[in-house]
């Protein structure tokens, strides 16, 4: 319905304007509707300005900046309407250590009301987990679970 789309858009946008500078340690971003007069067909544009940089076409952003921007949008929607659980598979792969730190900090906060399952190769991310599962393939082709409970 048009009204609900508009309301949700407003809520997510306000949240996005908060979450982006938090993950990027500065800068600003917002969502824009491509066609405000047609809420049933309009698209969603993302306008981004990393800290200290000038507003530019999103395509010029770096690999890590693009990933973190997408994460900011996902987290914003999640904060407006949380799911009971959230599964992220190697989302931290393109991020440097500083960004991974802020990413994990937000996940720890959101994990108070939702379960987070993170697949990762990053030792930094492993360090913030409450529970750790190791998957091994000692016998080739056969997955085996090794649980390492941390708390």
């Amino acid at each position: 319905t048009r009204k609900r789309f508009a309301e949700t858009f407003e809520l997510v946008n306000e949240k996005f304007k908060e979450v982006f500078p938090r993950l990027f340690c500065g800068g600003k971003a917002e969502l824009k509707l491509t066609n405000e007069d047609d809420l049933l067909e309009t698209g969603l544009d993302i306008v981004v300005q990393p800290p200290g940089k000038k507003l530019q076409n999103v395509s010029l952003l770096s690999g890590g900046e693009k990933a973190l921007t997408a994460v900011a949008l996902i987290f914003s929607i999640f904060l407006i309407k949380p799911s009971p659980f959230c599964l992220l598979d190697e989302v931290d792969a393109p991020l440097d250590d500083a960004n991974i730190g802020r990413f994990n900090e937000m996940i720890r906060e959101m994990s108070l009301f939702s379960q987070f399952i993170l697949i990762t190769h990053s030792k930094t991310t492993m360090a913030v987990a409450d529970t750790l599962y190791g998957v091994t393939m000692e016998e080739p082709g056969v997955s085996k679970l090794v649980s390492v409970k941390l708390n």
């Binding site: 598979d89 399952i117 082709g141």
Partner: protein, 168 residues
């Protein structure tokens, strides 16, 4: 509905039954390339009702059944169970007298499918209804598969609107 436990048996590289307990908070899954981590994500998607083999990196749904290794023969069936706790009370009325809800899906190599709710056979529709009613449905923003995070920025503006629609 919180996830309590995931049981994978015969699904992709999980030949023998593997059981994951999911306590509250943050759970990290680690291991070398190709050991089966993303297969766990596929298992969760699958038991929640995924109908497209492509979304599970396969060509046909049969691809999710353990296909054998150098030392093991292929299996004839894949089974995944997801057990939810109803302790937070957010469940449809008919489940209020249960402390857990177990969703099970099986696929046989001849193509036969089985769905079970608390070990009682049911239809796929009952499972998708349960997930819809409890808000646990595989929303686009609650499962982000490997390599898919980039799609949000690369997508056309019209393709992104579903993110708002799903949260609305």
């Amino acid at each position: 509905m919180k996830i309590k436990r995931l049981e994978i048996s015969g699904f992709k590289s999980f030949v023998e039954k593997a059981s994951f307990d999911f306590p509250a908070g943050v759970t990290a899954v680690v291991g070398p390339n190709g050991c089966g981590k993303s297969n766990v994500v596929d298992a969760i998607r699958w038991v929640m009702g995924e109908q497209s083999a492509k979304n599970l990196r396969g060509r046909a749904m049969e691809d999710v059944i353990f296909g054998g290794s150098e030392s093991r023969k292929p299996l004839g069936m894949a089974e995944v169970s997801l057990v939810f706790s109803t302790s937070d009370g957010r469940v449809p009325a008919k489940y209020l007298n249960y402390s857990e809800i177990q969703v099970t899906r099986r696929l046989y190599r001849d193509g036969e499918s089985e769905y079970l709710l608390n070990k009682t056979p049911c239809r796929l529709m009952d499972i998708t209804e349960l997930f819809m009613d409890t808000g646990v449905g595989a929303r686009a923003y609650s499962i982000i598969e490997q390599g898919r995070i980039g799609m949000i920025l690369m997508a056309k503006p019209e393709e992104r609107r579903f993110l708002i629609e799903e949260a609305a």
